[in-house]
Every structure is written in C-alpha cells, then in structure tokens.
C-alpha cells in the first residue's frame, strides 16, 4: 500500500520532471555520457592499442588528426583520443557521484545533529560550515597536494567532499529545526526513543529527499574541481581524466595545432556539468510547486 503510494508520487514527479525542457535535455545529455562510460569498458578489448593509458599505436609517433582507425585522432605518443575520452566519462561519473554522495552524507549528518542538538554545538558546527564555505577548494587542494605529494583519485574525492558539505548542512539544519517540534517527534520522545533513534529513524527520512536534490549541484562542483586539479597537473597520475587530457594538450604545446585534441575533453566537462546542473534546476521545480507554476504560466 505504502509502496504503491510512493510509486505514484514518484511517477507524478517524473512526469513533471521530464516535461520540463531543462530536465529533458539534462537526462538526454546524461544518457549519452553514461553510454560513453559503459563503452569505456569494452574499447580496450577490441585491440590493446585502444587502452587509454598504455595503448600506443605502433604506426604513429606524432599526434595525428581523425582517421578510420582513430576516430578522434591520437595524442603525441600515439594513444587514441576517443578511448581516453570514454575513460574520462567513467572517471568523471565516479568522481562526481562519489564526492557528491560523501558530501551529502557529511552534510546531512552535521545538519541533523546541529539542528537537533541546538545550543553551543549547533553554533560551533555552523561557524565551521561558514569558514569552509568561503574557502576556495581548488586552492586548498593545491596546498595539500604540495605538502603531501600526488594524491590518488579517492583522496581527491574525499577532500572535495569535505570542502563541499557546508551548503548541504545548512539546508538540512533548517529542515531539522522545523521538524524538531512537530507532534510526531515529541510523541516519540515521550515514548522514550533515544536521540539517536529520533535522528535516524524519524528525522532522516524526512530530510533525505532534500539532501538528494542538493546532490546534483554537488556533482557539478566536484567534477569541475577534479578537472581543474588534473589540468594543473595534480591529478591522479594513474588515471586518465578529461582535465588531464587538457593538461597533456596544453603542456605538449599542441593546443594551437590540434583542435581535434583540444576541443573534445573540455566540451565533455562543460556538457556533463551543464547536464547535472539542468537536472538540479528541474528537480527544484518538481519539489517546489511555486517555481513550477511560475515556469508554466510564462
């Protein structure tokens, strides 16, 4: 019974979402990139020379333009650009989604605890959030990279998540504040539920939808920061990413000679972040009927 209700609600939300031009475009672009990410698993199986990192075409010593064997051309050591691009899609999804997920987890926990506990704990957690919120994450990552050496991709993901939770925690906190004095929370407290149980069993289900709305915007930020870091040469050296491809074309001095190499990676980063951003705006309209009416009346 409950499931049926949720399915119906989800279906209705999806209907509004997919009718929204932003949502529709976002889903289509995202779909294309997902196909690319899945294809990246199969391309190296065709021929080892299509491996994005180690696959070198024995006949090619320089960067060459698009051809039948290399649809987007090769880089300056003879690696296939299309294969790297597909691999980059996979990495971008992994980085974006996992960083966003971790920041949502941290933000939701901090927001719920701050809102529920109140007082000094609330004040100090929110001050901390304020400090982190105004610090430029790329600059922090650069400083840490200089002190601790090259990071692997998961450490980068984790640092991005740590830099990105404050905005989430603010929203979750205010939502928790409004829930805290609702009758059902008071009732469970009277019934003897512990604080932990109230937070996780009664408050969390009510704030989670909001948290996941914020996830799409976090994905955008995480992909951009990782790409910028790789572009500057501080990415995970064992992992091809779009930012790193741009770094290679720039550092090897091919940016004025090889548009087939310069244009695709940046275009992919911009399009993927745009798609996630559009998704977020469209979801905003699904969850906020006020926005929806404005959009449709116009």
């Amino acid at each position: 019974m409950l499931n049926k209700y949720f399915m119906l609600r989800f279906y209705k939300g999806w209907q509004i979402f997919i009718q929204n031009p932003l949502g529709k475009t976002g889903v289509i672009i995202l779909g294309v990139f997902m196909v690319m990410a899945i294809a990246s698993f199969f391309v190296p199986l065709i021929d080892p020379m299509y491996d994005p990192m180690t696959g070198i075409d024995p006949d090619i010593k320089l960067s060459t333009g698009p051809s039948l064997t290399h649809w987007l051309g090769t880089d300056n050591v003879g690696r296939d650009i299309l294969a790297q691009l597909l691999e980059g899609a996979k990495v971008a999804f992994v980085v974006g989604l996992s960083a966003a997920f971790f920041s949502i987890v941290i933000g939701t926990l901090v927001g719920m605890i701050a809102g529920y506990a109140g007082g000094l704990l609330d004040a100090s957690l929110m001050r901390l959030a304020d400090i982190i919120m105004v610090l430029p994450s790329l600059v922090i990552l650069l400083i840490l990279a200089s002190l601790f050496g090259q990071f692997n991709i998961w450490i980068i993901v984790f640092i991005i998540a740590i830099m990105r939770w404050p905005a989430v925690s603010r929203v979750i906190r205010s939502q928790t504040l409004s829930l805290k004095h609702r009758p059902f929370i008071e009732a469970s407290r009277v019934a003897g539920a512990s604080h932990v149980r109230i937070i996780f069993r009664h408050i969390m289900p009510n704030v989670l939808p909001l948290a996941f709305l914020y996830m799409t915007f976090r994905v955008t930020a995480a992909i951009l920061v990782e790409a910028a870091l790789s572009f500057l040469g501080f990415g995970d050296p064992s992992q091809v990413s779009w930012g790193m491809m741009l770094q290679w074309v720039w550092k090897s001095g091919h940016m004025f000679q090889a548009p087939y190499w310069l244009i695709p990676p940046g275009l992919c980063i911009s399009l993927l972040t745009l798609a996630f951003y559009m998704l977020g705006r469209a979801m905003d309209e699904v969850l906020d009927p006020r926005l929806r009416k404005e959009g449709q009346s116009g």
Binding site: R127, D130, I131, M133, V134, L135, P136, S137, L138, V139, L142, I143, L144, A145, S146, L147, F148, G149, T220, L224, V225, A227, A228, F231, L232, G233, F234, G243, L246, W250, M255, F256, P259, L262, I263, P265, G266, L267, I269, S270, T273, L274, Y277, M278, R281, E294, G295, S297, G298
Partner: protein
C-alpha cells in the same frame, strides 16, 4: 545603518576565523612528511644564511615556541624567503598583487553590472523567447570549464586571428624604450583583454541567473502591485522599485562566490601567464616553493574573509530592514 557593536562583533569573528586558518596551516606543515626545516629554508643556501633563517623562524625550538614565533612573524610581515626567487616572499607578493587586483576588480565589476542589467530584463520578460535565450546562455556560461574556455579564446582570438597577445601583462620592448605613458597603459589593457573576457563570461552567468530569480521574487511582492495601482510607469516600477531591492542578494553573492571566482582566477592567470597571486601559487606548489605557497595561501584566505566582512557590513547598511 549598522551599529558599531555589530561591526565590532563581525571584526572579532573574522579575526578568530583567520587565526584558526593560520593555526591549521602551521600544523599541516608540521604533519606532512619531511621535516619543517626542509620546507621553510632553501636547501641551496649557504650554511650561515640557513642558520640565520632557522633562527629567525625558530625552527630549532620546541613546537609551541615555533608556533608563537610563526604568529609573530606573520604579523610583522616576515613570511620567509622564497626558494625560487631568493627574496622575501612578502616583496614578491606585493609585486604580484596589483595585477591580480586589476584583473579581479575589472572582471567582477563589469560582470556584476552587466549581469544585473540583463537579469533584470530577463525577469521582466519572463517566459519570453528573450528570457529563454538569456537564461540558457547564462547556464552555459556558468558551467563552462574555465581552462578550456580560456584555451579556446587563446587559440581563436589570440593565435588564429592574432587580435590579442598570447600571454603576459606587457610588451617588454615598449617599456624599455620609454614609450609614452598612454601607450604603456594601452599595452596593458591589450594584454588584459583575453583574461578579462574569460572571467567576465564565467561570472556573468551566475550574476544574471541570481538577479533573474531575485527579481522574480521581488516582482510578486505587494508593494509592486501598489506601485502599479498608483499608476507609475512600467519603467519606473522596474528600475526604481523592483531592481533596487532585487540587486541586494546579488551584492552579497559577490562575497559568497568569491571562493568560486578565486579558483577561476587562478586558472585564468595560469593560462594567460598573467603574473598574479593565483599563478604564483600554482607555480609555488608545482616547484615545492613552500614559503611562497604558504604566503599566497594566507593572503587569499585573508582576502576572502575581508571581502565577506565588507559584504556583511555593506548589506546591513544597504538594507534598512535588517537590524542586528
């Protein structure tokens, strides 16, 4: 009008936050692999110079004493000697700061003005083709990957069409030959164009979107209806009644989005070899020039905090509804 008590409170708050950052940086330098002496003192120096620097920074003392000396050195402006330049980092930073300020203020002010203006028009014609085109373009600008966009501009406008120089901030020949001041200013402006355009386009998107949504919420308020009922002209309602209030959140966002702009600014400086703080930070980090990296970072943190402080105060002053 902001009360003096409020201003004092904000100042104390910013002071405490900066101290936390200063302290965190001190411990990060000590926690990272390798000893602090190799991080703060150039290994290429003569033994006497090394001994002098170690003594000045107290690197041979116990940790708590090191910390006190570190704080004292910061406030007296001694941040160490750069490995690469062999000069005190504070002089290097002062030298670079003006270029960053030039690039940053021009791009932010231009983008904010144009963004507020276009956002106002987009909101006023909500749902029209004009609004759709502007909103979508703003979204695209906002999510553009900055280094890529900068490289494209450099490739097309700089390399293919040869309209602008490919990097740097001035033409050395012109400055050595003692050209008249006006030529030199024009030369700097010529170099400024590409980085300025990059940052302008990126910032424009977010200001436009913000102004649009802020304007939309203002337009649905009762006092706009009152203004209409009074028979005021549409133009007066739009510019005098709605836009002025709608622009307030945009002003606050300049402070809040500074972190985003600094990331973008560093990348832009790096690509156009604009000799500012951002490029210097990336250079220092790439070459393990720790004193320089530390100083750049502290300066950026200080600027971010001060900008947010100014925005807070400005907001309290501009919006008489806010009382603290």
């Amino acid at each position: 009008m902001a009360k003096p008590g409020y201003i004092l409170l904000k100042l104390v708050e910013v002071g405490i936050i900066f101290f936390v950052i200063l302290t965190a940086l001190f411990f990060l330098f000590r926690l990272s692999p390798g000893d602090p002496i190799s991080k703060m003192v150039d290994p290429m120096l003569t033994p006497e110079d090394m001994a002098h620097l170690i003594q000045q920074m107290g690197l041979d003392r116990p940790m708590w004493e090191q910390y006190l000396i570190y704080v004292k050195n910061f406030f007296t402006g001694h941040l160490g000697v750069s490995f690469h330049y062999g000069e005190p980092v504070e002089t290097i930073i002062w030298d670079k700061l003006k270029w960053t300020i030039l690039l940053f203020t021009t791009s932010t002010v231009l983008a904010a003005f144009v963004g507020v203006f276009l956002g106002k028009i987009a909101a006023w014609h909500k749902g029209s083709r004009l609004d759709n085109v502007m909103s979508i373009s703003a979204l695209v600008c906002y999510t553009l990957f900055i280094p890529w966009f900068a490289l494209l501009l450099l490739w097309i406008l700089g390399f293919q069409w040869g309209l602008f120089p490919l990097g740097g901030v001035l033409t050395p020949a012109l400055w050595i030959s003692n050209a008249p001041l006006i030529t030199r200013i024009l030369d700097v402006l010529h170099h400024l164009m590409l980085p300025l355009l990059t940052l302008f386009v990126i910032n424009l998107g977010s200001y436009l979107l913000l102004m649009r949504s802020s304007m939309l919420s203002v337009l649905s308020e009762d006092y706009i209806l009152t203004a209409r009922a009074k028979g005021l002209s549409e133009k007066v309602i739009r510019n005098k009644h709605a836009a002025r209030n709608a622009a307030l959140p945009v002003i606050t966002s300049v402070g809040l989005s500074l972190a985003f702009s600094i990331n973008g600014g560093a990348l832009t400086e790096q690509i156009f070899t604009w000799p500012g703080i951002g490029k210097e930070l990336i250079f220092a980090v790439s070459n393990n020039d720790y004193p320089l990296a530390q100083a750049c970072f502290l300066l950026i943190a200080l600027v971010v905090l001060c900008a947010n402080l100014i925005v807070d105060l400005l907001y309290a002053w501009l919006d008489p509804r806010i009382t603290y």
